[in-house]
Symmetry: C2
Amino acid sequence: MDEKEIRYAQDALYVLSGKWRMPVILALHNGLRRYREIAQSIPGITFSMLSKELQIMELNNLVLRMEDPDFPKHVEYKLTEYCESLYPIVESLVNWGREHRKVIST
Amino acid sequence: MDEKEIRYAQDALYVLSGKWRMPVILALHNGLRRYREIAQSIPGITFSMLSKELQIMELNNLVLRMEDPDFPKHVEYKLTEYCESLYPIVESLVNWGREHRKVIST
């Protein structure tokens, strides 16, 4: 593994970092699509934090924003395939983190 | 996946975060043990940054510091098994990051 590969890993880490990034990825992965239901599923997040997070994710090709042509107010969000491909890493982080808690609490 | 699991994932992310954490994990994983050779393998790191990083990693049970009883100055470092168990996640981050670069550069 060389310097270039370390940068790749740090890129991926960056995409997953941030207080709300993984909770939003999880909510969308679990099939929540509407703004209000996503917000309600994430304890502590405010509407403005969620809207900023979704904007950043859209810019970074992690989320698709879909407007209903007949009902412009009716907006839905969906993870891009590209972002879904992160999900196995999120699961491996969860598993490692669970073990981590056991190690540091013994 | 619930809130508790998100915290596990964020714990794991935290362990991997920081400019020098993955480069140091990689150097030790690749078998480098002595302070000078670790520092020389990581472009841009200074001795004081490395020593701070190794101290934090030792405190967090990620690194073992081994002194030679006959030669106290002769210190070696080694990843703990616990930290080695992170290595597959680092590799999956590298792979995803490599693809990520292709996506954002097309």
